[in-house]
Symmetry: C2
Subunit: 165 residues, 2 copies
């Protein structure tokens, strides 16, 4: 009986370990959504106004965030595996001439994983619409298009943004 | 001789300790400018446009940053000593409908130090114009005015900003 009890405890312990070990992996592997990006380093911001040709697709304010590994890359152009950059696009709500941040339009994510993405300089591209955190909407063709455009910045690790001091 | 040599080493060691201990204090006490705030958590952003009554004084984009202690305060309303919040105001440069971040207009700083600032809820207020990092321009009267206004948020530790998720 005590043996069975021990086995039970062991089984419970093993299950807890599996849960503990799986949680972080599931969080990033199932959707690639970087849940804590709002606590990362704020790289820069840009406002796309109504007179911009990009207003329909990207109107509002966007912020770029970098995790610590990507912040190193922004400084030396070398992005180690695990680097993640986020482009967050929000609507703007204007009142009396002041515009505050409103609803999230989308979150674009670049994750560096050299082994998994050899054809795209190590980068994987994802896009999450609105407040969705589970479903990247990009097709393989769109991901390839992301990389083709980002290759214009290949001398800086395929990253357009520069850290605004 | 070896005794004198030891004394020398001890003296050098003591001097190094004093320098080491004094360096962080000097950095903040001489100017209170938080040199690394651009690597802190980005709390929120607001754009003050030309039609705002605050445009002359505060036109452009402002970002609020919080150090880790202040980030805790933003979540629970309790700001421990060492909490620092920064309000950074930048000009905006518009081109083809897109506005990018330009010159820094000023940096306002709130530092929590309960012992040093018993009359203002523990907060000290400073203002650095442009890219200056050495001279807070606020008079004692202006600091008192800062606190009077911030007291409108006293149920939230005298901090107006809320973390934008």
């Amino acid at each position: 009986m005590s043996f069975m009890f021990s086995k039970r405890i062991l089984a419970a312990g093993a299950a807890a370990l599996v849960l503990f070990a799986a949680a972080p992996a599931l969080r990033s592997d199932s959707s690639n959504f970087p849940v804590d990006y709002r606590q990362w380093i704020h790289v820069k911001s840009v406002i796309i106004g109504p007179s911009s040709p990009f207003f329909a697709a990207q109107g509002g304010i966007h912020h770029v965030y970098a995790n610590p590994a990507a912040f190193q890359g922004l400084r030396n152009g070398d992005y180690s595996d695990g680097s993640v950059l986020v482009f967050e696009l929000l609507t703007l709500n204007e009142k009396d001439g002041a515009s505050s941040e409103g609803a999230r339009r989308r979150v674009d994510v670049m994750i560096k994983d050299s082994r998994a993405n050899p054809a795209t300089g190590g980068w994987r591209f994802d896009r999450f619409m609105g407040d969705d955190r589970s479903h990247s909407t990009l097709t393989d063709q769109e991901r390839a298009d992301c990389f083709t455009c980002h290759s214009n910045a290949k001398d800086r690790g395929s990253v357009f943004s520069r850290f605004r001091n």
